[in-house]
């Protein structure tokens, strides 16, 4: 327990993020000579269901697929300089991830590695015995009707802090609230109490700003001529300097690309927020309405004023279940009267699929004219004239319960090669298995978090 500032760095904001992103961040943390931790957020809502399926196929697998590639270049530096690494890369198999990290240590000759594992987020086996209630305005999921693949409760910063108390080099979790990967080390470092609401709110803001990696340093932001970002190809991932009073400065490593400004920080502050006065995480109810954001130097932004209220009585859980199949097919038309030909292709494929009488939902778009902004009814495209568009790609999307149906439907698009309008080329087709998610609330008492220290001898 100490009042010295803690530096928190982030090296990944989602499961397929750049795997070299953490390297300059770790170097900057080490150069600072200050107490520091590093975290990787690699687990989206439905990633867990995919990982769960992998684990069924391979009992050693089911952790984040790019964890090894992200950790290999930084593990030694972090261990030797006392910078703990935290990550939710445990996914559906935290123990498997811990063993794999020990394997990296063995390969690199790193001795005495200590890995703390947080478990207890997986509630699938006791789902039928838990009293679930509705989340926001959704109905509570009706389990009987669903093919449940995974069910995980969001653990919080308190659980991550307990893992930090085991003095590990690496903390591996499964499902935790993303921001808890930063809040946990702050609770551990500053000794914040369970009802220290304003501090817990400030620590949640740190995690929230950093959990998407480059989204606070110029990624998902650049709009050339309007919001310019230098050297986006070398975008630096974020570092937060966190003070005992809850104030923070967001920055990035010297010599990297990207940008930390009032604008990048405000955009990320509100990212995936609904009511800014009541953002619920396991540890606190976060109120952002009094937050102030101020540039205090080049690529240095101070954030103050987060307020906390009592934590929610329940925990959020995400249930993943079989969502059927998505089929997609595309074909291109370019040059004179491309719009006329692409529109004929669209009508042709729609009529042919309708004639098959398949049990599926169908949508078509002309990419290069109107696509992602339109609704399923095509109302936006119907109100516009695309005759000037000369490089178009017809996209077909089909949704059905089984793979065979979506394959049957998208094959009609491939048929356009020989039987459709003139000059159609570049067909691509694929079928993707879908995972659907539902959220619900469960009582805290139904959850029993477990903490394990895995040493080289155990692994």
């Amino acid at each position: 327990m100490t009042q010295e500032p803690l530096l928190i760095g982030n090296g990944a904001g989602f499961s397929t993020d750049y795997t070299d992103a953490g390297i300059p961040v770790v170097d900057a943390l080490v150069r600072s000579g200050k107490p520091a931790v590093m975290f990787y957020e690699m687990l989206a809502e439905r990633t867990l269901a995919i990982a769960q399926r992998e684990r069924v196929a391979n009992p050693d697998g089911g952790y984040a697929p790019y964890m090894v590639e992200a950790l290999e270049p930084v593990l030694r530096t972090c261990v030797e300089n006392g910078v703990p690494i935290l990550g939710n890369f445990g996914s559906a198999n935290p123990m498997g991830a811990a063993r794999r990290i020990h394997q990296i240590a063995r390969e690199q000759g790193i001795r005495g590695l200590r890995v703390a594992v947080v478990e207890g987020d997986d509630v699938r086996d006791k789902l039928q015995r838990i009293q679930m209630s509705a989340w926001e305005e959704e109905d509570a999921p009706k389990l009987d009707a669903l093919k449940v693949i995974s069910a995980n409760v969001y653990l919080g910063g308190r659980e991550v802090a307990k893992a930090m108390a085991l003095e590990p080099h690496v903390v591996v979790t499964g499902r935790v609230t993303d921001s808890a990967l930063a809040l946990g080390p702050l609770i551990h470092h500053f000794g914040w109490r369970v009802d220290d609401w304003d501090h817990l709110a400030a620590g949640t803001v740190v995690g929230h700003l950093l959990e998407c990696g480059a989204q606070v340093t110029g990624g998902y932001f650049a709009d050339p001529g309007w919001k310019d970002v230098p050297d986006l190809d070398r975008v630096g991932y974020p570092i937060a300097e966190c003070h005992a009073d809850g104030s923070i400065v967001v920055t990035k490593p010297d010599g990297t690309g990207g940008l930390v400004s009032r604008r990048t920080v405000i955009e990320q502050l509100l990212y995936e927020i609904h009511d800014p006065a009541a953002y619920l995480v396991p540890d606190v109810t976060l109120d952002l309405t009094e937050v102030e954001v101020e540039e205090v130097g080049p690529n240095r932004v101070r954030v103050t004023g987060a307020r906390g209220h009592e934590r929610p009585a329940t925990l959020k859980a995400t249930i993943c279940f079989d969502g059927g199949w998505l089929g997609e097919g595309e074909i291109s038309y370019a040059g004179p009267n491309a719009f006329g030909r692409a529109r004929l292709a669209k009508e042709t494929v729609e009529k042919r699929i309708a004639a098959l009488g398949l049990d599926c939902r169908v949508r078509t778009d002309l990419m290069g004219f109107v696509s992602v902004h339109d609704g399923d009814s095509g109302a936006l495209a119907a109100a516009r004239d695309g005759s000037a568009c000369q490089d178009l790609r017809l996209r077909l999307a089909v949704d059905a319960a089984d793979e065979r149906t979506v394959e049957r439907a998208t094959r009609e698009l491939e048929g356009l090669y020989c039987a459709g309008p003139a000059g159609g080329g570049g067909v691509r087709r694929r079928q993707t298995w879908r995972v659907r998610t539902a959220s619900c609330l469960i009582p805290r008492e139904s959850v029993d978090p477990k903490f394990r220290l895995v040493t080289a001898d155990d692994a």
Binding site: L270, Y271, E272, L288, L380, T437
Partner: protein
């Protein structure tokens, strides 16, 4: 032409925005380039107007949360993802591109505010 004259621009000239998603619900933040434009946007970009602008996406309830200290707005739009990332037929199931649909909305704004936003971007 005086600074008070109204000119029609895309909202993109006055503000920037970012979409986030949770389930079948999207949020879009709206942040004026020049903080002085916040009051004007508060009167112009109402939840009703945003709901109408997203009608082709089956927008259900739309709520605008005001954040005068930042200053910014947060719009929460129900149902516009038409199934969300796991259920949508849209190429962009997350709705990540939707912030730029909001920014394409035409606005009649005082010339002085449009100039101020342009100058604020250059600073």
């Amino acid at each position: 032409m005086t600074p008070d004259d109204l000119i029609e621009v895309e909202l993109h000239e006055l503000a920037h925005a970012r979409t986030g998603d949770k389930g079948d619900r999207a949020n879009i933040s709206l942040v004026p380039y020049d903080p002085a434009a916040w009051d004007f946007l508060r009167k112009e970009i109402t939840a009703e107007r945003v709901k109408a602008w997203f009608a082709h996406r089956n927008a259900g309830k739309v709520v605008r949360y005001d954040l005068p200290k930042l200053p910014a707005f947060n719009f929460v739009l129900d149902d516009v993802l038409q199934g969300g990332v796991n259920g949508s037929l849209n190429l962009d199931g997350h709705g990540k591109s939707l912030s730029f649909h909001l920014l394409a909305m035409p606005v009649r704004a005082p010339r002085a505010l449009v100039d101020a936003a342009r100058n604020a971007r250059r600073r």
